[in-house]
């Protein structure tokens, strides 16, 4: 049986002190949004964890999710997650291409049958297999073949989780999500456009640490990061409650940091960790930068009636349709009145 080093072995071999390891565990615990009292348990689990094989499949995507993830870490600390996994296939990042790359994928699948993780970003087009192919293999075929021996599938980004931008109206490629296609393997959705990079690494860390999938909500998202709305954790919430809103970009209210509800913020209906974990290593998030939340971790966020239309508005349709409805009302009223008049006249005539 091939010797697979545990994370503890790897760190020791790299000369990482126990203090360094504790620091890594503290960062991972924080990343997993677990209470600090869990650090010893995490340390114990990580020390003994084996490196899982990971196959990353990129389909109809903009590569933003991969960019987000590779920006998220320095190679030594949180990036240890990638030292702790064996990224056996990632056609954007890897050096090999074409047949050699596909051979590597098959080798990883065979060696780790039943135990490897499949990470997917991008949606899968069902309209025509030719819309998106890798090495001549359609996305659909590659997905179905690769997940056969997978322990679990992680759909990274809103495209893989819900169809994303390719799936937006009118969905010309027939784009579907991973969950639409995979029903016999556990699927974790990590949506966002892109997802917060630390969330991606945290989900992987969680799998690595506990060897099991995190608790998921009804849309398959880890509750630890998608359990609260932006609105519920937003630091501008007191302004919402007091009725202080920015009316336009860069007006007085905007400069004072007031609530962006009137500018179309979808925070109340969006579940993500942006308000707590924030972006760029905890620097800021869209609302803090003055832009309303787009709701990018929710299904169909491109088709929710406009980024700058507030949550409480509705689309009333065209002016022509409204005029038609009004005219219909007047016509029916006039007809009813005419009927009444005729009846009245008849009654008078009949004495």
């Amino acid at each position: 049986m091939k010797y697979t080093p545990s994370l503890g072995d790897i760190l020791q071999a790299r000369g990482v002190s126990r203090r360094g390891f504790l620091k890594y565990c503290a960062a991972t615990t924080s990343l997993l949004a677990l209470p600090p009292t869990m650090v010893p348990r995490i340390a114990n689990a990580l020390e003994q964890a084996r490196r899982p094989s990971v196959i990353w499949l990129s389909f109809q995507e903009c590569t933003g999710c991969t960019e987000s993830l590779t920006r998220s870490s320095s190679p030594t600390l949180e990036g240890l997650i990638f030292d702790s996994i064996s990224l056996d296939y990632h056609h954007t990042l890897q050096a090999a291409s074409g047949e050699a790359a596909e051979a590597a994928r098959h080798a990883a699948m065979e060696e780790n049958m039943g135990n490897y993780l499949v990470l997917v970003d991008g949606s899968i087009p069902l309209g025509n297999p030719g819309f998106s192919t890798i090495a001549g293999i359609s996305n659909y075929d590659m997905l179905m073949e690769t997940v056969k021996g997978a322990a679990a599938v992680v759909a990274i980004g809103s495209c893989a989780s819900f169809g994303g931008i390719p799936g937006a109206d009118p969905n010309p490629t027939g784009a579907v999500s991973v969950k639409d296609l995979i029903t016999d393997k556990p699927v974790i959705n990590v949506p966002g456009c892109p997802p917060i990079p630390m969330v991606i690494t945290a989900v992987l860390s969680q799998y690595l640490t506990f060897g099991q999938l995190p608790e998921l909500d009804h849309l398959g998202r880890p509750v630890a990061f998608y359990g609260q709305t932006i609105h519920d954790r937003c630091y501008r919430r007191p302004f919402y409650e007091q009725g202080l809103f920015a009316e336009t970009f860069d007006d007085e209210g905007a400069r004072k940091g007031w609530c962006l509800f009137r500018l179309g913020c979808k925070g109340p209906i969006t579940y993500n960790a942006c308000a707590t974990m924030k972006w760029n290593g905890g620097t800021s998030f869209p609302i803090e930068a003055g832009h309303p939340c787009l709701g990018c971790s929710e299904p169909g966020f491109w088709d929710k009636g406009g980024f700058y239309n507030p949550v409480s508005t509705t689309d009333i349709g065209s002016g022509v349709a409204l005029a038609g409805a009004a005219a219909a009302g007047v016509a029916i009223g006039a007809a009813a009145a005419a009927m009444s008049r005729r009846r009245q006249k008849k009654t008078i005539q009949e004495g």
Binding site: V16, S17, R18, R19, G20, L22, K23, Y24, A26, A27, T29, S30, A33, P35, P36, T37, V39, S73, S74, P75, T76, L77, E78, R233, C234, Y235, R236, P238, R255, K256, G257, A275, T276, M277, G281, G282, S284, E288
Partner: protein, 142 residues
Amino acid sequence: MSSIDEITSPVPYVRGNVEPILHEVVHALDRLLKEQEPTIIDLASLPFAPGELETLESYLGSGELTAELEALGPSQIRETAYPGVWWLDHRNTDGEVVGRYLEITRIPEILMSQDADITAGRARLGENLEGFESGRSNGADA
């Protein structure tokens, strides 16, 4: 403050998150004194408004002891102006913050020398000493 600062730093909502945390610290200090139980507060898990974290840090200030740790990047472990209340700042080799904690304890665990490291160091020292011994017996200068 320059005008850019005025635009990008709205009035810090000081009462928002800072006060409750300070109350939590007081309770934690009581627990430490009475029950000898330490408390760790993960500052990354709290939604701070812009400027609030800095307000908290400057409020707690610095005490007598500051330790610089170099392990997978720099970390600073600092006792604040309130003894028993420690501010831990963990960064990676790029200088990015990867963890921020308040520990209410007599000494944070990470400051103490760890068993695994002591064992490894003792082994190293033993080997080095053996090297001296064999060097002397080989006729090297005493």
